[in-house]
Protein backbone atom coordinates (compact mmCIF):
# COMPACT_ATOMS: atom_id res chain seq x y z
CA UNK A 1 0.00 0.00 0.00
CA UNK A 2 1.38 3.39 -0.98
CA UNK A 3 1.43 5.67 2.07
CA UNK A 4 2.71 8.79 0.36
CA UNK A 5 4.66 10.49 -2.43
CA UNK A 6 6.91 13.50 -2.25
CA UNK A 7 9.06 15.55 -4.61
CA UNK A 8 12.06 17.41 -3.23
CA UNK A 9 14.51 19.83 -4.84
CA UNK A 10 18.09 18.54 -5.03
CA UNK A 11 19.64 20.68 -2.28
CA UNK A 12 20.96 19.78 1.15
CA UNK A 13 18.13 21.64 2.85
CA UNK A 14 15.73 19.09 1.37
CA UNK A 15 17.24 16.21 3.31
CA UNK A 16 15.64 17.26 6.61
CA UNK A 17 12.32 17.92 4.87
CA UNK A 18 12.36 14.54 3.15
CA UNK A 19 13.19 12.77 6.42
CA UNK A 20 10.42 14.68 8.20
CA UNK A 21 8.05 13.63 5.40
CA UNK A 22 8.92 9.94 5.87
CA UNK A 23 8.57 10.25 9.65
CA UNK A 24 5.22 12.06 9.55
CA UNK A 25 3.77 9.82 6.82
CA UNK A 26 4.70 6.62 8.65
CA UNK A 27 3.71 8.04 12.02
CA UNK A 28 0.27 9.02 10.68
CA UNK A 29 -0.19 5.41 9.65
CA UNK A 30 0.65 4.22 13.16
CA UNK A 31 4.16 2.98 12.44
CA UNK A 32 6.58 3.28 15.36
CA UNK A 33 9.14 5.91 14.40
CA UNK A 34 11.76 4.27 16.62
CA UNK A 35 11.61 1.19 14.38
CA UNK A 36 12.54 3.28 11.33
CA UNK A 37 16.02 4.38 12.39
CA UNK A 38 17.89 2.26 9.81
CA UNK A 39 15.54 3.27 7.02
CA UNK A 40 15.81 6.98 7.89
CA UNK A 41 19.58 6.77 8.04
CA UNK A 42 19.68 5.11 4.61
CA UNK A 43 17.34 7.73 3.10
CA UNK A 44 19.50 10.49 4.58
CA UNK A 45 22.74 9.06 3.19
CA UNK A 46 21.39 8.46 -0.32
CA UNK A 47 19.65 11.84 -0.52
CA UNK A 48 22.78 13.60 0.73
CA UNK A 49 24.85 11.71 -1.84
CA UNK A 50 22.55 12.83 -4.66
CA UNK A 51 22.63 16.44 -3.45
CA UNK A 52 26.43 16.55 -3.11
CA UNK A 53 27.57 14.35 -6.01
CA UNK A 54 24.57 13.72 -8.27
CA UNK A 55 24.48 16.91 -10.31
CA UNK A 56 26.94 19.47 -11.67
CA UNK A 57 26.94 22.65 -9.59
CA UNK A 58 25.21 24.70 -12.28
CA UNK A 59 22.24 22.33 -12.56
CA UNK A 60 18.87 23.92 -11.97
CA UNK A 61 15.46 22.41 -11.34
CA UNK A 62 16.54 18.94 -10.29
CA UNK A 63 14.28 16.88 -8.04
CA UNK A 64 14.22 13.61 -6.16
CA UNK A 65 10.94 11.68 -6.11
CA UNK A 66 10.20 9.72 -2.97
CA UNK A 67 7.51 7.05 -2.58
CA UNK A 68 6.69 5.29 0.69
CA UNK A 69 5.06 1.85 0.78
CA UNK A 70 4.04 -0.41 3.64
CA UNK A 71 3.14 -4.08 3.28
CA UNK A 72 2.25 -4.77 6.90
CA UNK A 73 5.78 -5.78 7.96
CA UNK A 74 8.19 -3.70 5.91
CA UNK A 75 8.35 -0.04 4.96
CA UNK A 76 9.85 0.62 1.52
CA UNK A 77 11.11 3.95 0.28
CA UNK A 78 11.78 4.39 -3.43
CA UNK A 79 14.08 7.28 -4.36
CA UNK A 80 14.30 8.36 -8.00
CA UNK A 81 16.62 10.97 -9.45
CA UNK A 82 18.10 11.86 -12.83
CA UNK A 83 21.61 12.65 -11.62
CA UNK A 84 24.90 11.00 -12.52
CA UNK A 85 24.66 7.23 -12.47
CA UNK A 86 26.16 5.74 -9.36
CA UNK A 87 25.51 2.38 -7.75
CA UNK A 88 26.15 2.10 -3.98
CA UNK A 89 26.29 -1.67 -4.46
CA UNK A 90 29.66 -1.23 -6.19
CA UNK A 91 31.21 -0.30 -2.84
CA UNK A 92 33.28 -2.73 -0.80
CA UNK A 93 30.98 -3.65 2.11
CA UNK A 94 33.80 -4.91 4.35
CA UNK A 95 35.44 -1.74 5.56
CA UNK A 96 37.55 -1.41 8.69
CA UNK A 97 37.23 2.04 10.15
CA UNK A 98 39.65 3.77 12.51
CA UNK A 99 39.08 6.99 14.40
CA UNK A 100 41.14 8.81 11.76
CA UNK A 101 39.05 7.43 8.92
CA UNK A 102 35.85 8.31 10.79
CA UNK A 103 37.09 11.91 10.94
CA UNK A 104 37.49 11.88 7.17
CA UNK A 105 34.01 10.39 6.69
CA UNK A 106 32.66 8.15 3.94
CA UNK A 107 30.87 5.56 6.06
CA UNK A 108 27.35 6.56 5.00
CA UNK A 109 26.88 4.32 1.97
CA UNK A 110 28.59 1.46 3.76
CA UNK A 111 25.89 1.74 6.46
CA UNK A 112 23.15 1.77 3.80
CA UNK A 113 24.37 -1.61 2.55
CA UNK A 114 24.78 -3.05 6.04
CA UNK A 115 21.65 -1.88 7.82
CA UNK A 116 18.75 -2.31 5.44
CA UNK A 117 16.79 -5.55 5.14
CA UNK A 118 16.78 -5.06 1.39
CA UNK A 119 18.46 -2.59 -0.93
CA UNK A 120 18.13 -2.47 -4.67
CA UNK A 121 19.61 -0.07 -7.19
CA UNK A 122 18.97 0.03 -10.89
CA UNK A 123 18.91 2.47 -13.74
CA UNK A 124 15.96 2.99 -16.03
CA UNK A 125 16.65 5.37 -18.89
CA UNK A 126 18.19 8.46 -17.35
CA UNK A 127 16.82 7.69 -13.89
CA UNK A 128 18.58 6.20 -10.86
CA UNK A 129 16.17 4.13 -8.81
CA UNK A 130 17.00 3.11 -5.24
CA UNK A 131 14.64 0.91 -3.24
CA UNK A 132 15.20 0.79 0.50
CA UNK A 133 13.33 -1.67 2.66
CA UNK A 134 13.32 -2.13 6.41
CA UNK A 135 11.17 -3.97 8.93
CA UNK A 136 8.85 -1.66 10.86
CA UNK A 137 6.58 -2.09 13.86
CA UNK A 138 3.07 -0.75 13.94
CA UNK A 139 1.39 0.55 17.07
CA UNK A 140 -1.58 -1.46 18.24
CA UNK A 141 -4.57 -0.21 16.32
CA UNK A 142 -7.91 -1.89 15.82
CA UNK A 143 -7.96 -1.67 12.04
CA UNK A 144 -5.39 -0.56 9.49
CA UNK A 145 -6.23 2.70 7.80
CA UNK A 146 -5.73 3.33 4.12
CA UNK A 147 -4.21 6.85 4.01
CA UNK A 148 -5.89 7.57 0.65
CA UNK A 149 -9.43 6.71 1.70
CA UNK A 150 -9.28 7.04 5.48
CA UNK A 151 -11.04 3.66 5.69
Amino acid sequence: MVLGNGRFPVELGSVSRAIDFVVSTCSNYGIEVQSLSNLLLACDELLTNVCVHGYPAATREAFVNLTIDFDGDFVSVCLEDTGLHFSPTDLDPDCNFSLDSLVIGGVGLYLVLKLLDHFEHYERGNRNINILKSHASRKNTAQPTDPRTGL
Binding site: G13, Q34, L40, D44, T48, I104, L111
Partner: protein, 115 residues
Protein backbone atom coordinates in the same frame (compact mmCIF):
# COMPACT_ATOMS: atom_id res chain seq x y z
CA UNK B 1 16.43 17.48 16.55
CA UNK B 2 16.69 19.07 19.96
CA UNK B 3 19.92 19.66 21.86
CA UNK B 4 20.05 20.56 25.52
CA UNK B 5 23.13 21.08 27.63
CA UNK B 6 23.50 20.89 31.37
CA UNK B 7 26.25 20.36 33.87
CA UNK B 8 26.63 17.64 36.44
CA UNK B 9 29.58 18.62 38.65
CA UNK B 10 32.44 18.96 36.13
CA UNK B 11 30.73 16.89 33.44
CA UNK B 12 29.01 18.61 30.52
CA UNK B 13 25.99 16.55 29.50
CA UNK B 14 24.66 17.06 25.96
CA UNK B 15 21.26 15.49 25.33
CA UNK B 16 20.42 14.98 21.65
CA UNK B 17 16.91 13.86 20.68
CA UNK B 18 15.09 13.26 17.39
CA UNK B 19 16.73 12.91 13.99
CA UNK B 20 20.36 13.94 13.66
CA UNK B 21 20.40 14.18 9.88
CA UNK B 22 23.15 15.49 7.61
CA UNK B 23 21.91 19.07 7.65
CA UNK B 24 21.35 19.16 11.42
CA UNK B 25 24.82 17.78 12.06
CA UNK B 26 26.10 21.31 11.40
CA UNK B 27 24.20 22.54 14.47
CA UNK B 28 25.46 19.54 16.43
CA UNK B 29 29.06 20.39 15.41
CA UNK B 30 28.60 24.01 16.45
CA UNK B 31 27.29 22.92 19.86
CA UNK B 32 30.28 20.65 20.44
CA UNK B 33 32.67 23.35 19.23
CA UNK B 34 31.26 25.81 21.74
CA UNK B 35 31.40 23.29 24.58
CA UNK B 36 35.00 22.29 23.81
CA UNK B 37 36.04 25.91 23.39
CA UNK B 38 35.15 26.40 27.06
CA UNK B 39 37.96 24.01 27.88
CA UNK B 40 35.79 21.31 29.44
CA UNK B 41 37.42 17.92 29.80
CA UNK B 42 34.50 15.64 30.58
CA UNK B 43 31.70 15.43 28.00
CA UNK B 44 28.81 12.98 28.01
CA UNK B 45 26.49 12.78 25.00
CA UNK B 46 23.13 11.27 25.89
CA UNK B 47 21.39 9.63 22.90
CA UNK B 48 18.47 8.10 24.87
CA UNK B 49 15.90 9.95 22.73
CA UNK B 50 17.78 9.75 19.42
CA UNK B 51 15.86 8.37 16.44
CA UNK B 52 18.86 8.11 14.14
CA UNK B 53 22.27 9.61 13.49
CA UNK B 54 23.67 10.18 10.00
CA UNK B 55 27.28 9.55 8.99
CA UNK B 56 27.77 13.32 9.13
CA UNK B 57 26.76 13.19 12.80
CA UNK B 58 29.20 10.33 13.40
CA UNK B 59 31.95 12.40 11.85
CA UNK B 60 31.17 15.29 14.22
CA UNK B 61 31.65 12.94 17.18
CA UNK B 62 34.92 11.59 15.75
CA UNK B 63 36.29 15.12 15.30
CA UNK B 64 35.24 16.13 18.84
CA UNK B 65 36.71 12.94 20.31
CA UNK B 66 40.11 13.57 18.74
CA UNK B 67 40.04 17.18 19.86
CA UNK B 68 39.12 16.52 23.50
CA UNK B 69 41.66 13.71 23.84
CA UNK B 70 44.37 15.99 22.56
CA UNK B 71 43.72 18.22 25.57
CA UNK B 72 43.63 15.28 27.98
CA UNK B 73 39.86 15.03 28.25
CA UNK B 74 37.32 12.35 27.45
CA UNK B 75 34.01 12.15 25.64
CA UNK B 76 31.61 9.24 26.21
CA UNK B 77 28.18 8.24 24.96
CA UNK B 78 25.13 6.79 26.67
CA UNK B 79 21.60 5.68 25.88
CA UNK B 80 22.23 4.05 22.50
CA UNK B 81 19.39 1.67 21.74
CA UNK B 82 19.17 -1.33 19.43
CA UNK B 83 19.69 -0.17 15.84
CA UNK B 84 21.50 2.98 16.90
CA UNK B 85 24.02 0.96 18.92
CA UNK B 86 24.59 -1.26 15.88
CA UNK B 87 25.60 1.78 13.81
CA UNK B 88 28.32 2.59 16.31
CA UNK B 89 29.43 -1.05 16.36
CA UNK B 90 29.53 -1.43 12.56
CA UNK B 91 31.66 1.68 12.13
CA UNK B 92 34.11 0.64 14.85
CA UNK B 93 33.15 3.52 17.13
CA UNK B 94 32.55 1.22 20.08
CA UNK B 95 36.23 0.22 19.92
CA UNK B 96 37.45 3.78 20.34
CA UNK B 97 34.81 5.39 22.56
CA UNK B 98 33.24 4.34 25.84
CA UNK B 99 29.49 3.74 25.77
CA UNK B 100 27.09 3.28 28.68
CA UNK B 101 23.52 2.06 28.91
CA UNK B 102 22.33 5.17 30.73
CA UNK B 103 23.38 8.52 32.09
CA UNK B 104 23.80 7.34 35.67
CA UNK B 105 26.26 4.63 34.67
CA UNK B 106 28.22 7.08 32.50
CA UNK B 107 28.51 9.66 35.27
CA UNK B 108 29.94 6.97 37.52
CA UNK B 109 33.02 6.99 35.30
CA UNK B 110 34.04 10.40 36.54
CA UNK B 111 32.57 10.30 40.02
CA UNK B 112 34.69 7.20 40.67
CA UNK B 113 37.85 9.00 39.52
CA UNK B 114 36.99 12.00 41.74
CA UNK B 115 37.01 9.87 44.89
Amino acid sequence: MNISIHRHRDVTVIEVSGTLDSAKSVEFATTLDLVLAEGVNHVLIDFSELIYISSAGLRVIAVALKRIRKSGGELVLCGLKDDRRRIFELTGFTKVIKTFDNKQDALQLWSASDE
